[in-house]
Symmetry: C2
């Protein structure tokens, strides 16, 4: 163990800016990310908290164009079904929203929770088994913040069929999809969520 | 919108230290936290990502000693049941672990997900309804990081009965417990998880 760091006011002020400007990104530049940067972000993600130190996150990088096309097809089907749930003005607004950057984002990851892992020996998830999935969410959140600090945007896509996603990447049956991430340099940066700017939801902050 | 901030190498290096030294805290000093600091941390938590901008997190602050005693009783019962699942050396090791700071931590929060919220209009959670709970996990993760940057430790306790917790704080039936947090100044600081130091799980980092 090295000496515990201290964080001064300049850092905490900047951390506040990072949290405010993190935001979900759906508009990506298509230029590639440096490989070393991607490795650094994934290394920082590994520092995330996990129940019983189980580290159940499994990141699958999708580079194959056929796989990516299959993801886009899953999104299109799920999004059409979602649109059908809305009516009138709300349906028109929903149809106008840009909800993902699946075509543009240079890097994409399907992030799973490995329910078959023995790591952690079950500690901390007897009464709350969902803690295993939550550990993967924490890892995605940390990756997201680290990425934004390095100028990289992340968009979390959830309008997908989890079973289809597992088939597309040939994941084992005990892996549960937690998130699908689009990653790349953002076209524009905002401190107000896109859904608020688009008038979908005002929110409380 | 103000101008987008940029984050220099000094900040990203320090952010790496924050992620490494975040860690789950179970050993707290009993002195109180400044109220203004707690408010600042909760304001930063509000900036967390949420599906459809639903912001479904509901933070209940537990200050009542009877409530806290009931939480400790729930932990004791759940932990005894957990211990019974292990045998031999592993059981002895489990019994020696300090898994929570429920008696010492000056601030404690039960954090729920409000499944009854209309905010977000269901966007993004038709095929993955668990996204609502995941939004609360992201908020806890951001609170945790912001707290550590301000010298405050957080410990996430999951060895509890979620139904009992809801009864203890008289939460509505549509609120689901996501986490119970102990919050306070840490007795000691580490960059290696307590479970690794105690020999429970080596982990991969």
């Amino acid at each position: 163990m090295s000496a515990a760091p201290s964080f001064d006011e300049a850092f905490t002020a900047k951390l506040g800016e990072l949290l405010a400007w993190r935001r979900d990104v759906r508009r990506f530049r298509t230029d590639t990310l440096p490989e070393a940067l991607l490795e650094e972000l994934l290394a920082l993600m590994q520092l995330s908290p996990s129940v019983g130190h189980s580290q159940p996150w499994r990141w699958v990088r999708l580079r194959d164009l056929e796989q990516r096309a299959a993801v886009q097809a899953s999104f299109a089907a799920c999004n059409a079904a979602a649109l059908a749930d809305y009516e009138g003005e709300q349906a028109r607004l929903y149809a106008s929203l840009k909800l993902e950057g699946l075509r543009e984002a240079p890097e994409q990851f399907a992030v799973f929770c490995d329910h078959g892992t023995g790591q952690g020996h079950g500690l901390g998830r007897r009464t709350m088994p969902e803690m295993l999935d939550y550990s993967v969410v924490a890892a995605i959140t940390q990756f997201w913040l680290a990425a934004r600090a390095h100028g990289v945007g992340v968009g979390w896509v959830s309008i997908l069929d989890p079973d289809a996603m597992r088939r597309i990447v040939e994941a084992p049956p005990e892996w549960k999809l937690v998130g699908y991430l689009c990653v790349g340099f953002p076209v524009e940066e905002h401190d107000v969520p896109e859904l608020v700017r688009a008038g979908w939801e005002k929110g409380r902050s």
